[in-house]
Symmetry: C2
Subunit: 302 residues, 2 copies
């Protein structure tokens, strides 16, 4: 339970509704900023304004998955008002407070570090990334089915990267009957892909592997699908790039060669916002409980 | 090889391009009717008109997957002209000729039977239906991912029917991590679903099984998802009905209750036309070879 814990939740999209529900169910004291359109729809929470006073006494600030933009703006689906987070707000937080978001840019990082407030980027965590790989893989399947005139079953498919997302994706593609080859850059990943019955290769050999690919899924956040690789792909190939912007594909050259290439980051929030919200909610609940437990222990020792 | 076999191919969509390619590769003599827009794009075939003379000497007539409409009209994506198939055409066929289509209506059935020409409905065949279950299952996955805000992984899913399509669909849903229950009406299907680790139930118990379903896939071509069943479904449930028109769902009542229900027959031609074409092409190639072999044997015996 989160009884007695004060959470200030600012902005967000439908995913945050699952977070609000979970924190409220666990008896946290939840204040919402940027939810004026939703007033009355959620019980057990209070609405607040984006003013410095709202930050006094908060144990945690929960921002949307994308945090703030580089001017401090926080998006909210549930408010028409502009929400800009700044020093005046963060400086009023207690020193033990933490700011939670999915991914942070330099504005938010600098803001928190100026006031020595710990910033937690949830999407960097292995558990969150692995949970999120499930909706990501399903979104990738959807894109592949929509953008090809063949079945995934029987297709020659490359998955680049055997990390948290790559392993999930390779497994479900193989389960659907695709002929999956996995491009890895570490020998342990090579061994794991082999154990799973997938055909591994080192990404240094990607140009050679490209020759008969119907589908290429990229999870590597670096320019890996270069012009040289694209030049080797058959014309029918479709590239689905799941890495964060700007992706790992030379999109300019793909377009020039007439090869369909789709940049699709952030699929969980698009194809399964409810599940994506539950993933964030579950991890937040656990982290807030741990924080409270640690504060309690410290308090007892003093 | 199909050397010496005359095939008259009338109308169709992109699927037929795979059929033409396959038959032509196997050295059949292919004449196309209703392909005037495509002239020059396909080598090794000839174009013909829809006149009785074109039917003289043909060993096989290949119609589009949907055959003709109830006035004898044959659709062609590759011609603006109207193509109407009638007695004057079919009566010119040699007695050993066969007419191949996906599914036939009564117009086409009556037409062929009047002239004692064998009509082969490919989609009725078990092999074709099982091959087609692959793109059907992928199309069903796509619809499920598009129309829910949760992942298939972890969802409570019902698959109604454990036939040629139901078995494929249940297997891939389970592989993606769904909690699959399969509604069957035969004890052997019950046993098979059990063996596959799926949780079977008899469709007589469907009303009881409906209570916690997130997703319901129907493959049974009979009114099975009745108003009584729909009344038991949670509001969040989505019905994807894969049975031939009019499907097995009380769509009127589903709409009244605000439950999303999608009728989606004919998915292979939509989500994977190339694979769907290859399925038809592969089976046709085999059937035409067998026909020719039998005619040759009969000829030798005479």
């Amino acid at each position: 339970m989160l009884t007695g814990i004060e959470v200030l939740l600012i902005g967000g999209d439908t995913r945050q509704l699952e977070v609000i529900r979970e924190l409220s169910d666990k008896d946290a004291s939840v204040k919402l900023i940027g939810y004026d359109k939703l007033y009355g729809a959620i019980g057990g929470v209070t609405l607040a304004e984006l003013v410095p006073e709202s930050f006094i006494g908060a144990d945690a600030v929960v921002l949307p998955p994308v945090g703030t933009d580089e001017e401090g703006k926080v998006e909210s689906l549930f408010s028409a008002r502009e929400l800009v987070l700044g020093d005046a707000h963060i400086e009023r937080l207690p020193k033990h407070a933490k700011v939670y978001t999915g991914m942070a840019g330099s504005y938010l990082r600098d803001l928190c570090s100026r006031h020595q407030i710990e910033l937690v980027e949830l999407f960097e965590r292995d558990d969150v990334a692995i949970f999120n790989s499930i909706p990501t893989a399903e979104g990738a399947l959807m894109l592949a089915i929509q953008n090809t005139d063949i079945t995934i079953h029987g297709s020659h498919t490359l998955v680049l990267g055997m990390g948290r997302t790559g392993m999930t994706l390779a497994r479900v593609l193989a389960a659907l009957g695709a002929k999956v080859r996995v491009g890895v850059h570490r020998s342990d990943q090579y061994a794991r892909a082999f154990e799973m019955g997938l055909s591994p290769f080192y990404t240094t050999e990607l140009t050679e592997a490209a020759g008969e690919a119907d589908l290429v899924f990229n999870t590597v956040p670096a320019r890996i699908i270069t012009a040289r690789v694209i030049a080797e792909l058959p014309h029918r190939a479709v590239i689905i790039d799941l890495a964060s912007k700007p992706g790992g594909t030379d999109f300019r050259f793909a377009e020039k060669r007439g090869i369909k290439a789709i940049l699709a980051p952030g699929l969980p929030g698009i194809v399964a916002p409810k599940t994506a919200g539950r993933i964030i909610a579950g991890v937040l609940n656990r982290l807030l409980s741990e924080d409270a437990r640690k504060r309690g222990m410290k308090h007892e020792l003093e």
